[in-house]
Amino acid sequence: MLSILRPQLLKTTRRFGGRWIHSCAPLLNSSVHRINTQSEVYKYSKEGPLHVKFTNEHEWLAVFGDNTAFIGITSYASEALGDATYIELPELGARYERGDLIGSVESVKSASEIYTPVTGEVIYVNKNLELKPQIINEDPMGAGWIAQIKLEDVKELEADELMSETDYESSLQDLEDSH
């Protein structure tokens, strides 16, 4: 979802010696792209998720043995977006195609869309986000999960667009370097 992820978005402007300057917080250091082991996502199964995949739109997907997957936005995306003010959730019971819009995160002043990287039925949505959108900032890769999807086609998980944690983090490094 999130875009961007250009450092500019994260800039803070402050007055310095009569000029407005921008500073950019060191982001990558603070981003850890692992599912929070204390969260209900991890504990969904005793062994934790089978694998965790990432999209270049900064969504994560935690896949479990029962062919379901939890979906959310990455720590990097959550930091770049800033304080979330409203999370639009997908419809419970609805079927979404890979690439479909399933919701959005509204933060400070932008509405950022979320797309599903897999096809399937939404079997669970994180209602907590409706009342406390800030959870997505506090624990984006745990309590801030957005929906659980029943996978229709596990082959989709092999798609090139779905990255491993290492590949995702190196893609972030490339993003940083290119700006």
């Binding site: 979802m1 509204e106 002043k109 932008s110 869309e113 406390k132």
Partner: protein
Amino acid sequence: MIRSVVPKLRRLPTVFVRRTHFQVPFEDDLTTVDDDDFGLAGFQLYKESPDVLRQKELLGLELRSDVASAEPVPATAAATASLSETACLRQPIIFSSKLHDPYLNLAIEDYIYNQMPLPTSEDEHNCNRLMLYVNSPCVVIGKNQNPWAETNLPLLNALGIPLVRRRSGGGTVVHDLGNVNYSFMTTKQKFDRFNFSRLITESITELCSLKVNDRGDIVDGPTGKKVSGSAYKLSKGKSYHHGTMLLSLNLDVLRRLLRRDEAKVGHVDLKSSVKSVRSPVVNIGIPIDRFIQLVSSGFALNYGVTVLPINELDEMLGLPSFAENACTTFTIDEDTPLPVEVLQTVEELKQWSWRFGHTPLFTHTFKSATHGLQVTFHIGKNARLIDFEIATETTGGATASSFDMLRLMINTHGYVEYKGSTIAGFITDDSISEWIGVSIDGTS
């Protein structure tokens, strides 16, 4: 609403041009006299050697010749093209709408955004879009806002001012003919909250002193009051930054439309949803045409395509050093045939289910001393009344029982749409019914 289907030849679009290189000899200096008397005619046929051209390409000094010939002059490309053709062009374009219908303008903006191509690595230039439009009076709320909490709905309805919900985030704004709306569209990678705000302030810096604050808002330099409200949307590969620019908006009307007297229109408790950040505002007092012209020039200067001069002689001379940043403007007016997608979006935007139904959960409480009554409505998804509580000063009695029908309707159907007239219709006491209906949205 549906315009004539015959595409008309429209006036030549305005081309904003800024020379980026100094004049080199021979351009305008060459006349027939030179040709005849000084034997300079041969220069007209001069072409740089392929090696030189290749080198210039590498340095980015010249358009690749194949691209240049495929798109000879961007300015004419859109001159006779339709909106749908122009919206797909792989070059930066300014869309200037002369329409004032807020639903139409928002739908056209959405269409242009959806159609905007993403530049590929082989592309010479960006495909950014700038849309400028002025709406007739209306109140526009953000995607996830609550119209009951943000506006004085009874007053809006009494004045016949439409309440419009846009598809981007952010807070509530008031539009009228003294306000220009801009919408800057680019890729998601290039998204930046500050860039376009800065472009605007720089473009009109000769007329007024504005600043961009740390929220990315444009404010009046001396007073720090807001002159523009902006909102952003990020989708797959794309992003837009759109906003209002207060030139000569009726600020008194703005305040009245957004002022809520809780004694009359009730107290709204938002479980979640986006609250507007209220800020003092001021007009910048620039004529609309001048603002549009300056911002369009700013866009052309920053994002325009470097084109070879339209001048035939220059073309023959193949002088690349006359590069200019130019940008096509496509004007949308009453005669512009609109794509069917635009009309569909207009219908979607007008639906009650979007304008009101998209509101996140909330409760709405009304108190009346006259009736000795307090009512709290619980409104669920899709702006449906799913429950209510009443507290009366006197226990039992006629007051409470006048809500029996409403309770029955909720129990039977699961919900009642949260519209003043509908709710009022199920309240059996006439004066309570009138009061509730008027307080919800001015209908009863």
